[in-house]
Amino acid sequence: MLGNLGSGLDPHVERRVTWLSLLVIVAFSIFGLRLFQLQVIQGEALRLRSERNRIRTVRLEAPRGQILDREGRPIATTRAAFSLQAIPAEVRQPDVTWPVLAELVGGEAGALRERVEKPRGRRRFQPVDLVGDLSRDALARVESHRYALPGVTTDVRPRRLYVDGEFAPHLLGTLGQVRESQLKTRAFADYRAGEVVGQSGIESLLEAHLRGRAGGRNVVVDVAGREVEVLEEVEPEPGGSVVLSLDWDLQEIARQAYRRESGGVDRAGAVVALDPRNGDVLVLLSSPGYDPNDFVGGIDTATWRSLNDNPRRPLHDRVLSGQYPPGSTYKPIVAAAALEEGIANAETRVFCPGHWKLGRRTYRCWKRAGHGWVDMQKALVESCDVFFYEIGRKLGIDRIAYFARGFGLGRKPGIGLPQEKAGLVPTTAWKLARRGEPWIGGETISAAIGQGYNLVTPLQLAVATATLANGGTQIRPRIVLRRTDRDGRILEVTHPEVRGTAPVALEHLERVRDGMIGVVSSPRGTGHAVAVKGLEVAAKTGTAQVVGLQHTEDLDEEEIAEHHRDHAWFIAYAPAKAPEIVVTVLVEHGGHGGSAAGPVAGKLIQAWWDKKQAALAPAESPTLEDGSPEPVVTADAVVEGEGDRAAN
């Protein structure tokens, strides 16, 4: 019944099957010849090579690129670290090796042994890392006992070093071993398990640039595992450098201001200093900080726990992701809005009896006795709340929000780091959508003095202040000035970027800026304390309420538990007429802005001013002192130099 499927084999098919047999025979004959060539003709040579071939491939880590401040001072660099490894298959006397090693480098013999022997299988000839960063003493002890420790090797690797640990950890970010989940993604396709990568901050943002390229070395090793001969070597390529806009000196001043002398935890807060002309971030500090050096080789549990459980939350980046009510630092924006909308002008006056009524509710001015008759200048200088209640009510929340957005609030400042927050600019539509409730008139009153739903981050407030200072241009904060290769050749320059314009006429901005100058220059101004000799500074203080006023208004500041005290804000810029630096300071639970945050801003502006003066001073006759044997100096140059000195 199956016969009809075929009846005998086609002779053509039979012939062609013979061809296939020939193909098989020819192919395998070639293999036979090749085997003969390799195993007999070259056999002796290759056998020698295989005997010598106790080759180990050693990976040469690439030094990570440097992170420099704006003047080229290294913030993050690399140093040589000694590491200790063991090759499982070559540890021939485990009962001797592990106790001796534990004695030499510290640690427990059982733990060391387990670490090396646990991953069984085909990794037995690959070195297993035991200690990532061996001290010089421990290294010397291991080296001197080397012959007693077959299978144990040491190695030098570049390791990230943050020159001044707590310099700007939240910005720089941390390094850590590449995560299992990351290895599965395309971005990490050419990474290997255990490799160190930037896990946050600049380290992560510019990972591809900083990483460099690992090299490798094939080395012949002897019985003791020592390298006898290097066969091939592919040099690692160090990563490229990054020049940040930060100014080391100013950042350091800001840090000092938050430091507690008696070894306690630093005060909590944030500082930003921007150049309002181009967005350069000169200072970016979140305090308290931590030391990212602790993370480089994997952070130990105790350190991690102490950081994570610290009530002041050192890991939290206050400057980019801390969101606070702006308090009275919001008033310049509300004032600008009122001027632009024609709700107020220079002559508008409001009587402040110390409180203000809307319907049945009473809103207080911070000054219980009242400010009397207040115009806009006085309202800004003395931070009168009643004046802003009045113009805030007339503006309405949605118009306030429109102007706030014009100054860059309610959106991420665009520095490029993932932890950046957008703050909150409340509107009627927002409340309806988010809370399902209509906006209440009284909420506008709180919002007009920067309380209520308003939220800003310190960096956002700095951008808003810069917008005010530079005449209405909303600029993107620039943290990376340029990327260079390892030899300093520029690869990419970050150009300043305008992100928007505040919809306020220049004359109206001038009016607000006059008020902010008064905050410092007027003896009654809330920011009088930050006056810098020879420099006109404009500023505004602010207080962000932490708990409702009703609980604390009757108490003196000293009597309020610290964590119930309000946050202190201070925004400032200088020189007032042609601003070159904007400073925003937040002191958490600092109480009033003027007294707690003001001095920090004052010190920063003073330091900036001193530095600028020093840079402007003539260099000390370099033509005469540079040691050149034949000073070629014209009479004109000498006279010019003397003239300069006389002028100072």
């Binding site: 061809w19 098989v24 085997l35 071939n53």
Partner: protein, 368 residues
Amino acid sequence: MLRIDRRSAQNFDWLLLGLTVVLVGMGLANLWSATHSGPGGMAPEVRRQLTALAIGTMALVAAVAVDYRHLQRLAMPAYVATLVLLLLTLVLAPVIRGSQGWLVFGPVRIQPSELARVGAVLVLARWFARNPPSQIRQLRELWKPAALLVAPVTLIVLQRDMGVALLTLLVGTTFVVFVRIPARAWAGVAALGVAAFAGLWSFGLRDYQRGRILDFVDPGRDPLSSGYQAIQSTIAVGSGGLFGKGYLEGTQTQLRFLPTQHTDFVFSVLAEEWGLIGSFVVLGLFIALLLWGLVIARNSKDNFGAFLAVGCVALLFWPAAINVAMVLGLAPVIGVPLPLFSYGGSALLANLATIGLLLNVSMRRYMF
């Protein structure tokens, strides 16, 4: 007809079975050495390979039991099933070591591309049995088998397994040896092939794949990475000399210079430890197996049997040839396992089923 009647049993091909048993035994012993690490126990790879051997033996028995002429009717469903598995792999499988070749069902991991080759051989044998190739004189008459072959190859390419895709293409293309198409038509195909390769080189290949081809042309190009494998493999084979270094004594093997010595480079382990003599024995056994398979094809009493047997020989010949050529530094490093020797359950299962089909055709050569 599902039983093995007395006449078939009398004609059972003990030679083929014997060759298979010897090769499988050598393969296991060699795998033991390739995965051996210090004293103590069986490597997990060997244990898994033994499990696969048990399942493969059942597959072999099944492939023998059903009269191959009934397989004509099963060819299409089997082919479609393997395509579905390939598709599933593409959709479900996680990316393992750069290609998506595995399908995971709890503890069972199968590599459908290994099974897909067998499916392709079944449908192609059926097609050529119904469309006698001695009458095929024009290329366009081959569009149907070409389409049958391109489907699984495309799916395997999409899994980024270029080696296995190429292998599947070669196995299927073996059948064109039977058609009568004039040489100048093939010249056209060759020109097209060169153009396709140029296109693939420029746009289709990933950097590492280009690198492997360049490494083959010049192994010293990048001695630390893939060229390294070719160099170490050559050293391993050559250092084996005439008599080899002895079982479990190969220094290249035991020091693990080759990361994939239990899969793609398993033949280097054999050549190092058993030398020219051992290599010749194994290659001789392979030649015997393959030529005997072709004898079975010639003795087959119908075209389907002949084509099925030829397909089975192709299924064993091409991976063996490519793999050995690669180990001996005669071909670029592409991930193709050596039948019956390399670690890999799906491949062992497919190889044993293939041999089962050969046994099937062989023992029913007189059934009329």
